[in-house]
């Protein structure tokens, strides 16, 4: 069978974490803090819009770029929220979640041997998708700099072959985000070296301590940025699979070509529901954001009390505490915690080797669950003192 499977795919990591994931999935009555999606159900108004569209018989393809009314809604949303102007005809594309969009943009811009910078720890798809597109992922270790990319780090890694950077903030898995001043410095370096910014801001609406800054709003950044966002996190719509991309029309046109041959269009039901989310979903986003924020504060205090040092993240719904003082590796810690106390977390190494010594805890879980998990973790840690 080996010679049937393409070499590119053979060398792709099934992510060493797979076995651990399978272990979690096979176990009953686990309290999981390992989930990368909201614990809220999509607000009813949005679900109802999906149902209504089915009743009305909207069951066909849509334009490759996506329903015009959804693209228009996105253009208005970005205008209101960030003062950004994108043309719904040429500069916006609806994708199957942000994941598809990232794949599209990398395939659109990469020539064989081009390098893509990826700050790490990072979301898992950026590297493998870069490789599939024929590019070379260059991982930037951010663990010494509070999990943030800095101009200095960037300068160190950029060379003539560097085509772009996948910047994700708030970051999955660390929850770290950037203020405008920090982003401006990063932008300057990118413009200087003509490195395209692929900005994955899917957690942007879940920012707590300051206003989220969209990368294309930075000086002269818009033409050098492909902006990604989606409905999954902010509107609790992960299973609907709707994301969107905004950027220079040449790049969007290129991405649309691949999209039309591979996907054709996003499910019309999902697009109808997403359009409703933009119309009426704002207050639900705010309610959920407040709830997440309270859990973030709570968990941060509690984890530090347990002796797991944890900086307060500014966004998303993740905490990334350090577990080095237990003497266990991230994987051992996670496996033992699962086996002994039935609490699931994700080992930091799932997000890159420099996630070693950390675990990702998701607080997208009810406060009762979080409390019970803390009790079990306390017991687990005390045994090891």
């Amino acid at each position: 069978m080996d010679n049937i499977i393409a070499k590119k795919v053979q060398v792709m990591q099934p992510s060493g974490i797979r076995a651990f994931f399978d272990l979690v999935l096979g176990m009953k009555e686990v309290i999981s803090l390992g989930v990368g999606e909201p614990d809220f159900v999509t607000p009813w108004q949005i679900r109802e819009a999906g149902i209504y569209s089915l009743e009305q018989g909207f069951t066909s393809y849509t334009s490759n770029k996506g329903l015009y009314k959804l693209r228009l809604g996105i253009a208005r949303y970005l205008k209101n929220k960030y003062g950004l102007e994108y043309c719904p005809d040429e500069e916006i594309l609806i994708t199957v979640g942000v994941s598809e969009g990232i794949d599209l943009v990398l395939r659109t811009i990469i020539n064989p041997g081009d390098k893509i910078l990826i700050p790490q720890p990072s979301y898992v798809s950026y590297g493998p998708v870069t490789e599939l597109a024929g590019g070379i992922p260059v991982y930037i270790d951010t663990s010494k700099d509070g999990f943030k990319i800095t101009p200095k780090l960037l300068e160190k890694y950029i060379d003539k072959k560097t085509k772009g950077i996948v910047l994700n903030y708030p970051v999955n898995p660390t929850g770290v985000s950037y203020r405008r001043k920090e982003l401006e410095e990063i932008n300057k370096v990118l413009l200087k070296h003509k490195v395209l910014c692929i900005s994955d801001e899917v957690y942007g609406d879940l920012t707590y301590d300051f206003q989220h800054v969209a990368f294309p709003t930075l000086p002269r950044a818009k033409n050098n940025t492909v902006y990604f966002n989606g409905f999954s996190k902010a509107f609790a719509m992960t299973g609907w699979r709707v994301g969107f991309v905004c950027g220079p029309k040449e790049i969007i046109a290129g991405m649309t070509k691949i999209h039309q041959y591979t996907i054709m269009c996003v499910s019309i039901t999902s697009q109808m529901a997403a359009a409703e989310a933009l119309m009426s979903g704002k207050r639900y986003v705010e309610q959920m954001r407040r709830e997440y924020n309270r859990r973030r504060e709570y968990m941060c205090v509690e984890l530090n009390l347990l002796g797991l040092k944890c900086q307060k993240p500014q966004g998303a719904f993740y905490l990334f505490p350090c577990i080095k003082n237990t003497g266990l590796s991230s994987m051992d810690f996670s496996r033992k915690l699962l086996e002994e106390e039935k609490v699931a977390v994700v080992p930091g190494t799932a997000f890159g080797i420099n996630g070693e010594g950390f675990i990702r805890i998701s607080y997208a879980s009810s406060l009762d669950n979080l409390k019970e998990a803390l009790v079990r973790m306390k017991r687990f840690l005390e045994k090891r003192k």
Partner: protein, 162 residues
């Protein structure tokens, strides 16, 4: 609304310590705020929301929504007569509303008879009550924002994902 109230409205058992942690405040500060709300009457009481359908050992309860037409009193309007009505312990809620009638009164009783007797003997014969229409409640689906259905423990999310 103050986030302290937002939390307590959802979970009346949330402790001062937990609220303080969630809002990044000192416990004393939260305690003081809650005391103040209680004193002012902004927080009236703490109670459990019970789904009585699931309690088999208690006698079943009958509930009725009663539309009441009233002749307002000079100088007092509806206030005085409303007070006379809502003071009956059988009345669990009482609202002044706009539209074709004036008061919406919710009455609870042990059975159909007790409720009908209340309407016939207490409510209808009040001097300013011009007429009533009684609607017996057949099934409760949702009350005070809570859906009265036994929650399934089924977890719809997969237990671990990136």
């Amino acid at each position: 609304m103050d986030e302290i109230l937002e939390i307590l409205e959802k979970d009346g058992r949330a402790t001062v310590e937990d609220i303080a942690k969630m809002l990044h405040k000192k416990p004393d500060e939260v305690k003081k705020a809650i005391k103040k709300y209680e004193k002012e009457g902004a927080i009236l009481k703490y109670k459990a929301v019970i789904n009585k359908d699931l309690i088999k050992d208690t006698e079943s309860e009958v509930r009725a929504l009663i539309e009441v037409n009233i002749v307002p009193q000079k100088d007092l309007g509806f206030e005085k007569i409303a007070e006379r009505i809502y003071s009956f312990p059988e009345v669990t809620s009482c609202y002044l509303i706009s539209g074709t009638y004036d008061l919406l009164v919710v009455v609870e009783g042990r059975n159909l008879n007790t409720v009908s007797n209340f309407v016939a003997e207490k409510l209808s014969c009040l001097e300013n009550v011009r007429g009533t229409a009684t609607h017996f409640l057949l099934k409760k689906y949702k009350e005070d924002g809570v859906i009265l259905k036994h929650k399934s423990d089924e977890n719809k999310r997969i237990a671990i994902s990136y």
